[in-house]
């Protein structure tokens, strides 16, 4: 029987198998950040051991840092201490750090692929659930807890049970104006926030193949939101084209050999997945969530289901059966590891060019990395934002989880390109509506929930 791409990569990284079936899994690269690493480093110190493979570990500061005035010391004390602890730990154990202000700094899941660290066939972990993003490059990548961060620092391995496999095939071509975010929000609305739990998902089909690398990252990023450990897209020319020439990508003869190897990295034609779903992507419309988990999504012009969860409705201030179109909003957040890449900022700029931000709406445009910020400046995107009365901030996780000052006030509505609409996610009492970039742009210029396909002036 053939093997899935997930089994192939997992098996090639299994050092040994424990009683009961858990794998001692070798990790090619670990990314660390300031929030989930300090306790792991403290564990190493307590045990009197060091980082086993510092060269396979990459650090950045992203979760709690401010997105303005990054040249100044972080005002908030606890956040500053976490960043200082990361800096000290990296210096002490010889781990490369892209700290605040560094030209290669950014959200960990943006810079991994962008800098070429993330490559096909790898196993990758990070103490952050959106590590699934890296699967878009053809890697087995997943989020772990701090205990596992410590395991990998100490040994370059973790101990986990092998996931079951799921394939989600998206046939057809998405309609004009439908983006990667809409595909994944649609998927989660169909299979629910627990539909993928216990599984690792391979995303396949024409609609996935037709996505750019950035789009594939958006899809894999939210694999965790249906409960899956991770998502993966088999590498192809789109992958190689994206990776070629990036700072950490193989060069010259090594590059050719690597591509040769990566081309063979696909599920065998007779591979059997534990579960399969097929969807028709041509019928998907721009999506938005109405509730308090990412599975509570509807088409932008749809109605909140009659069966909607009452607790979620009460929190959001909505009624079942009503439309969201036309409802006023207060904030728009463009950014995060889901939609903070240059392609996202380009799309947002194209849609707001020549228009003005609606009165009373606060718009946060937060690049995913210093590199994205630099490109946004050089390409003139920042000028477009400014002309529309909006501002390009500095890179970080920002209002996705509101660990820094970018908080949505209680009761306010935020159309957000991020990945979670949980209660209080963007600040205590905040109300989040998840969407793609186009729906966010329409909200920014109209001040309302609007269909980006019909919101010309």
């Amino acid at each position: 029987m053939g093997k899935t791409i997930i089994d192939k990569i997992w098996d090639a990284h299994t050092v040994r198998t424990e009683d009961g079936g858990r794998s001692v899994l070798y990790i090619d690269r670990q990314y660390i950040h300031e929030v989930t690493s300090p306790v792991a480093f403290a564990g190493l110190e307590r045990r009197g051991i060091v980082v086993a493979r510092p060269a396979q570990t990459t650090a950045t500061a992203d979760h709690n840092i401010p997105t303005v005035n990054q040249h100044l010391p972080i005002e908030e004390e606890q956040g500053r201490r976490q960043v200082e602890a990361l800096t000290e730990n990296c210096a002490r154990y010889g781990v490369e750090l892209f700290g605040v202000g560094h030209p290669r700094q950014g959200i960990v899941h943006i810079i991994g692929p962008e800098q070429g660290f993330t490559q096909p066939g790898m196993t990758i972990i990070c103490g952050d659930s959106h590590t699934s993003t890296h699967g878009a490059m053809g890697a087995v990548a997943f989020g772990v807890g701090t205990s596992e961060v410590e395991m990998a620092l100490a040994s370059q391995c973790i101990i986990q049970s092998k996931p079951r496999t799921m394939r989600i095939t998206m046939n057809g071509r998405p309609a004009e104006g439908v983006e990667a975010k809409d595909l994944i929000l649609y998927l989660i609305s169909r299979i629910s926030t627990s539909g993928g739990t216990g599984y690792f998902i391979e995303f396949a089909g024409e609609a996935i193949r037709g996505l750019s690398m950035e789009g594939r990252m958006t899809v894999c990023n939210m694999a965790i939101e249906c409960g899956a450990r991770g998502g993966i897209v088999a590498p192809d020319d789109v992958t190689f084209e994206y990776l070629k020439g990036r700072p950490e990508a193989p060069k010259g003869a090594e590059w050719n050999a690597a591509v040769e190897r990566w081309r063979r990295l696909a599920s065998d034609p007779d591979a059997v997945f534990d579960r399969e779903y097929t969807f028709d992507a041509s019928r998907i419309q721009p999506m938005i969530t109405w509730g308090t988990n990412p599975g509570e999504g509807i088409a932008i012009n749809g109605r909140i289901p009659a069966s909607a969860d009452r607790k979620a409705l009460a929190y959001m201030g909505f009624r079942s059966g009503e439309k969201l179109l036309g409802k006023p909003i207060d904030y728009v957040f463009v950014g995060s590891c889901t939609n903070g890449r240059i392609e996202d900022l380009r799309l947002f700029a194209r849609l707001v060019e020549g228009r003005r931000k609606a009165d009373g709406v606060t718009v946060w445009i937060v690049p995913g990395s210093k590199e994205v910020e630099r490109m946004a400046r050089e390409e003139g995107l920042e000028r477009i934002f400014n002309a529309a009365g909006m501002e390009l901030r500095q890179p970080g996780c920002s209002a996705c989880l509101a660990m820094n000052a970018d908080k949505v006030p209680a009761g306010k509505y935020c159309v957000s390109t991020s990945n979670r609409n949980f209660e209080g996610r963007q600040g205590p009492g905040s109300r989040t509506l998840l969407s793609g970039v186009a729906v966010a742009a329409a909200a920014a210029v109209t001040g309302r929930i609007a269909d980006p396909r019909h919101c010309e002036e």
């Binding site: 001692v24 370059q156 739990t197």
Partner: protein, 201 residues
Amino acid sequence: MIPKFEKLTSRAVPLPIENIDTDQIIPARFLKATERKGFGDNLFRDWRYDEEGRPVADFPLNNNCRFGGEILVAGRNFGCGSSREHAAWALFDYGFRVVVSSFFADIFRGNALNNGLLPLTVSDGFLAAMLTEIAANNNAKFEVDLEAQTITILSTRQSESFEIDAYKKKCLLGGLDDVDYLVTLAPEIKDFENGKLKLEN
């Protein structure tokens, strides 16, 4: 070096809500410590306290009758969302040793096991029976026997067996730590790396 899991008899705290995500278990603004302590104070912070910091009267953790319960009984898909291990730390620090649900999110389950907190999966029927028992009797007691892999409602003697993988069971019962174990595998990991390099070149 994790706390050993002993056989346990305790009251339980009901939280029959589905899809409880780790942002509710511990909101992101409380993840800023660089040491692993005190997270229990902010467990379920925004459900447990109002904006002025006053306890919310009808939240189960604020019910006197529930104090001291070491078992949390929650709706399905408990622990979804963020991978923050702080969620497991907060539950353990507050005093919970077992979370019972009919379905757990993957990362949370792993984090709990790595911290001596038992994520115990029961059938929907048994979960309902536990909640009925708790509603009928504030003082209802439950027994969790990891060695035998059973959970029992003491008043009715209704019992159900649960699954746990052999390796993790051994770790919990013995208080064994994955890091210590992995460090002993260093030579085998080195051999693996050498073999892997050869394959790639």
